[in-house]
């Protein structure tokens, strides 16, 4: 068992070395240069966002549906009203550091979410960062609870708005998730550019953040057996 593992990893390292020595020059430049040529099709500075939200917007809707189903399954299987009691009280350092760090992590998540069409990042990453801020509050503060009605409202609003924007694009431009708002290439790089793409990414971030927060809370709240 161990011998086969070591030999497999040796083969892996030799293969990687072979690839690296064959084309040294082009391997770190190929993907980025080709992606940069896609920027001119839409007024979005980040080419990956153009691919994820504009060219493959329908796939992103499917990913959101998959994440919703995962969150629904965890909620159905693990939901419990009794919060499990931690064996040791959270100490002073954790309590103080969570008060200090929670606004900063939350602000960073919102920044990643809103600037997803200008810099690396986007809705998924920003939403998960917001969920990790909620996780920090959950493990440090015993009485903290994610407000369930607020989460329901945010998640429903985000999901319905995504489909509605797609349908408006279908009616206006004969294209589901068509970019019907002004997306001038001259405005590329400023915050209000790219038409519907930043709006859709903010909606994706809201939905992912609320779903992951509820998922983490359901995992923590499971009563001890």
């Amino acid at each position: 068992m161990k011998l086969s593992g070591f030999s497999l990893s040796a083969v892996f390292v030799v293969t990687i070395l072979n690839i690296l020595l064959q084309n040294t020059q082009s391997i770190t430049q190929r993907a980025g240069e080709q992606l940069l040529n896609l920027n001119a099709t839409d007024g979005v500075a980040n080419a990956v966002t153009t691919v994820v939200v504009y060219f493959r917007g329908f796939d992103t809707l499917g990913e959101i549906a998959v994440l919703f189903l995962a969150s629904l399954g965890i909620g159905l299987m693990l939901h419990s009203n009794n919060r499990c009691t931690l064996k040791t009280e959270s100490n002073f350092i954790l309590q103080t550091a969570s008060k200090l760090l929670f606004p900063i992590i939350m602000l960073f998540g919102v920044y990643i979410m809103v600037y997803g069409h200008l810099s690396p990042g986007g809705g998924f990453q920003g939403g998960v960062i917001i969920a990790s801020a909620v996780l920090l509050l959950l493990i440090s503060n015993k009485s903290f609870e994610v407000p369930h009605s607020l989460i329901t409202i945010i998640e429903t609003f985000a999901g319905v708005s995504y489909v509605l924007i797609g349908l408006i694009g279908l009616f206006v431009l004969d294209n589901f998730l068509g970019n019907f708002l002004p997306n001038d290439i001259a405005n590329m790089g400023i915050l209000l550019s790219g038409g519907i793409i930043p709006i859709i990414y903010i909606l994706v971030g809201l939905k992912v953040g609320s779903e992951m927060s509820m998922m983490v809370q359901n995992l923590i709240y499971r009563e001890d057996s």
């Binding site: 593992g5 070591f6 390292v13 990687i16 770190t28 690396p120 990790s132 996780l135 995992l219 057996s225």
Partner: protein
Amino acid sequence: MIVFLILILFIMIVVIALSAILQEKLIDSIVLFMGVGLVSVVLFFIFQAPDVALTEAVIGAGISSVIFLMALKHLGVQR
């Protein structure tokens, strides 16, 4: 120069992953799994994929390890 850095990172990934599956305690395996994620973040960044690097740092090394730790705590495996 960059080739040697990439090679060192690849060898680090292989060594950390092998030591992760050879651990006795499961919690050590989870921590080393986070290490694999963190090294691959640097590797994704060198290959000009900062979006993938951010996703791996947040999801692969962050929230999935927390979910693994919670599952380990609920299972009560103490070996």
